[in-house]
């Protein structure tokens, strides 16, 4: 009898040793009844909502706004005048706003392509742009050219080449550099279109399934990985990139030239707010351009009954999103605020925006038992 037991125990240990995640050895529960009523939160439902109602429609919208931009650019090349410059600028702004709704999805194809870094690194390296323009045939796929393309470089070309629209148009019409400028702008736009097509194609192709089916709870599961990417976006690109760095919170020196859309000069606030809306909508699982409130992180928290100080954590987070929005909406273009040093109003607003970070990174991640980053070290 004991011999049999020895053998059994050792076999089970060996099985346990050899199969890291296998659960062959987990004892069966006492009552083999079907799983409890369908209240358990389905991560797959959330992933489907993210992919089908938020991510893919956002990319589609951004893609079509890029083709509008391309059309406006086509008209501009046919007739370089102030009217067409205005139309081009409007199309650029529309596309830039649409970009704020996709920039946070740096996972899968976007991550592989370094999509965000290829589309929107600022400040733009003006000297590099000037060199590229006169050199012609620049290889825009080189990582060294990332700060000489995308939205910020377009910003420089349509807003920064002269003090007035007339002066800008004059440069595009000048025999010395006009065609080089147009050629460079054309290659910029087609680079953006190409990258976006690639990302969208993957999402509408196989990646959507890969993403949705990876609905487990390991560190490499879609939810765990994307929530980390999402928080990173909020912390580094929305909070630090759009406000913190220009306001000099990491250096104690203000840096207005680091504002997003620096040459346009009056839309940094608008772009930030669009980004903030996108982040909050994503948190709530609200579909793109719709009022349908699908399954999101808020529902996940509510399903787990995450209540803090008598309040749903999801409400606490939403309230802080709202507070931040109100404070930012009361500001001017940021450029305006940065005329003061220190820019007190902008710094106060930054603190409000900052308050969301611990709520997401500490309270939400802890409640959902999601690890910060992929830390493959042992615990105890």
């Amino acid at each position: 009898m004991k011999k049999v037991l020895v053998v059994l125990v050792f076999i089970s240990i060996i099985v346990a040793c050899s199969s890291s995640d296998s659960s062959d050895d987990t004892p069966t529960p006492p009552t083999p009844t079907p799983p409890p009523s369908g209240t358990a939160f389905q991560r797959s439902a959330m992933l489907e909502n993210w992919a089908d109602n938020i991510i893919i429609p956002s990319y589609q919208d951004f893609s079509s706004s890029l083709s509008d931009l391309n059309d406006a650019f086509g008209n501009f090349t046919v007739s370089v005048d102030e009217n067409n410059l205005l139309a081009l600028r409007n199309a650029w702004l529309e596309a830039y706003l649409a970009w704020q709704r996709v920039s946070m999805f740096e996972i899968g194809p976007a991550e592989t392509l370094d999509y965000r870094l290829n589309m929107n690194i600022y400040p733009v390296a003006v000297e590099k742009v000037e060199t590229n323009i006169s050199a012609a045939n620049t290889d825009l796929s080189l990582p060294s050219n990332r700060d000489a393309k995308g939205f910020p470089t377009l910003d420089y070309l349509i807003n920064g080449l002269g003090d007035t629209d007339a002066a800008i148009v004059a440069r595009f019409n000048s025999p010395a550099e006009g065609s080089d400028l147009l050629n460079y702008m054309e290659s910029l736009i087609s680079d953006m279109v190409m990258l976006t097509d690639q990302v969208l194609q993957e999402w509408t192709g196989s990646f959507r399934t890969t993403f949705v089916q990876n609905d487990g709870s390991s560190a490499t599961a879609s939810v765990d990985r994307y929530v980390n990417d999402y928080i990173l976006y909020y912390e580094r690109f929305l909070r630090a990139g759009k406000i913190g760095i220009p306001a000099g919170v990491f250096t104690s020196t203000i840096a207005p030239e680091n504002l997003e859309a620096f040459y346009k000069g009056d839309i940094s606030n608008q772009l930030f707010l669009e980004g903030l809306d996108a982040v909050q909508d994503f948190f709530n699982g609200i579909g793109f351009n719709s009022s349908t409130n699908g399954v999101g992180l808020d529902d996940y928290l509510d399903d787990l009954e995450v209540i803090r100080d008598g309040q749903n954590l999801s409400d606490i987070i939403n309230n802080q999103f709202d507070t931040s929005r109100n404070v930012i909406a009361d500001l001017n273009s940021f450029q305006e605020e940065l005329r003061n040093d220190p820019p007190v109003q902008l710094l106060l607003a930054y603190d409000e925006v900052q308050r969301i970070v611990p709520l997401l990174k500490v309270d939400m991640l802890s409640a959902l038992d999601i690890n910060v980053d992929f830390q493959d070290a042992d615990g105890d």
């Binding site: 987990t26 990491f250 500490v362 999601i370 910060v372 980053d373 070290a377 042992d378």
Partner: protein
Amino acid sequence: MSRFKLYIHQKTEAAPLAVFRILFGVLMVISIIRFWSYGWIDKLYIQPKFFFSYYGFEYIKPLGQFTYLLFLICAIAAFMVAIGYKYRISIIIFFLSFTYIELMDKTTYLNHYYFISLLSFLMIFLPAHAYFSVDALKNRNKAFQYIPKWSIDSIKLLLGIVYVYAGLAKLNSDWLFRAMPLKIWLPSKFDVPILGNYFGEEWMHYAFSWGGALYDLSIPFLLLWSRTRWFAFMLVVIFHVLTRVLFPIGMFPYIMIFSALIFFDARLHKKILNVIAKLLRVNTGYFENKRQFSLKNKLFFKLVTSVLILFFAIQLLFPFRYLLYPGELFWTEEGYRFSWRVMLTEKAGYTQFKVVNGQNGKWFYVDNTEFLTSFQEKQMATQSDFILQYAKFLEKHFYAQGHRNIEIYVDSRVALNGRLSTPFIDPNIDLTKQRESFKHKSWIIPFKDDIKGI
């Protein structure tokens, strides 16, 4: 006293300790290979720019590329322990190299690494090479069939302390009456087959909490009593395999499962050794020589017994040092480590350091990712001694960059066992003015809630 003398000279079969030595050595070799193959030596000890030292051990740092050599030495020593070749010197080298590794950065502190350090220290004083070892094979005079009973009992005692103290630590209101942190951890394991379907249920959280506490408190006694031993061992296997499935705790479950074999009597161990002997074509009869091991040298005997008595006295008392500190232990973590508080809290934190020029009031925030790995940042955010050490490092760093009149403040938030995150460190305290010591850190903001229990 005479009972003690009688006990101290009692003899028992050496086979269980030999099996223990072999399994310990083999598991340590596997652990080091596993650690190395995952690239953790590079990731944890070579890439970081800054390491968190233990107070009083600041001189112990990773050795750059030589860190690999250190792990290699440790693995070779473990292998030599397993085969019982030059046992004493091997186990001393293993203890020193392993402990050095653990002291290099307290970010990686785990109770079970501490357990390995303690166990290997204890093994220095045990005649684990008396039976079924290369040492004994090479020298007939070093082979003994019997060893002092206390040498096996001391391992049982250490295991018993680990379990019972881990159980006592669970006797608190969060664990027992709020089912925290299992209420947070279990629902996220929904993809475990079968059981996963029930992990969202509240009764399951309580069942696991109470079951875990009961298991820890009772298992040493169930293993000691021969009538419940096999049942207890089944529980050990089930419990540790379950923890292995649920949590990323590496080799620890296997170490505990195999360690529990020490409670069985020598017949089982001889069977195990016979299997190994057949594979290696060794004659086990050689070791059945009826000889008894004892420490002949009186001075040496006194030394060993007093070291072990002191060792266990410290083990029994050290976990209670937290009573000397004010405030909630789970919040301040003053006296938390080295006390078998295993998987006890769900804690996460966030820190934002502010560097202020005390003269002109200019300030800026620190980007922690510039200096710390995400693992280090995570560990730092919830532990006050890490926060202070990091602030001191920042002071030095920015001084070297030319900053003067440096003051450093921290805006920190910590969430404990499903409570809303609240400020952890007083944001008005200039950390550059604080000193590390074993005294209470008065600049920790007191815990807002109340956790009752041990």
